[in-house]
């Protein structure tokens, strides 16, 4: 469990390091899609942590959920842009709610584990 957390933090640091050092700068037009995709990814990761705490962690579900959520969110935003609807708001709300739910679950789990 803690090895997993360590590896996750390590991977995050590595990704951030790469992201800040690659010479490619995301064009302003795509920043919106990327932001929604990043939110979806964040949600997926927290969902994975929650699943791990529930001992329900499944590698396939985690990886596929991560990428499909991110792509779906970005695609939804793109379609919304084309249709003239701020569809990315739906993604933001949905993933935001789930993010807080996951965070709340993780908090409760940690508290339970500590004070039991």
């Amino acid at each position: 469990m803690w090895v997993g957390v360590l590896l996750a933090v390590l991977g995050l640091g590595l990704g951030v390091l790469i992201g800040f050092n690659i010479p490619v700068v995301l064009p302003q037009d795509y920043a919106k899609y990327m932001s929604v995709a990043a939110l979806a990814a964040l949600d997926s990761v927290f969902g994975g942590i929650r699943a791990a705490m529930e001992d329900k962690f499944d590698q396939g579900i985690f990886v596929s959920g991560f990428f499909s959520n991110a792509l779906l969110a970005a695609g939804l935003t793109y379609i919304g842009d084309r249709l003239g609807i701020d569809l990315y708001l739906a993604a933001v709300v949905a993933f935001g709610v789930r993010l807080f739910q996951n965070l709340a679950f993780i908090r409760r789990y940690l508290l339970k584990k500590k004070f039991r």
Binding site: V9, I18, G19
Partner: protein, 224 residues
Amino acid sequence: MPKKNTAYLSIMLVTAFMGLMLAVQFRAANRAPGGIPTDRAKEMMTELKQVNHERDNLTKEINDLTYKLNQLNKGRTEALNALNSELGKVRMLAGLVTVTGPGIEVVLDNPENGGKTTSPELSFIQDQDLLGLVNELWGSGAEAISINGQRIIATTEIRLAAPFININTTRVVPPYQVLAIGSPDSMANALELPGGLVEYYRDIGFQVTVEKHDDLTIPAYAAR
């Protein structure tokens, strides 16, 4: 254990990817502080379109005005040319320029031996005779006339002053060489008409010769 290892690997991969996304997004969002809101960008796009349209219109207007200006300039040069040619014509009519061209030369002289008529006044060329000749020449299409080098203009007088004739206040003496530019044939025909002026003068006893020339030069009026 290998399953656990792949799980760790996948976790690391996914978190690394997320970190990459976050970092890229962070940089993109930080690049232009605040960024340009989409609405503002759209507004500016429409503004740009409008300004471009306006510019196109103004370019069209420039072309239009340039065309008009050219037309006006052309018109001005045309008017200038017309005025210049008019001026030339008027100067020629006023006798202020030397004229060359085809014409006739009429030489008029007094009778050789006092004439055969009785009256001495009639046997000498008088101012009326020259006036009549000039009048006849004008009437038959002369464009410019001179007598003994004196250009005949609108204010030219031909008058008897004692025994001489004054033209342009200059004394002229026989033989009188009258040059006229115009159609040589029509002028000569008018003069030599049967019963015409030349015949009449010859009857009186004047010596008259009429010659056609292809190239005559009549001097300009010498103002004094």
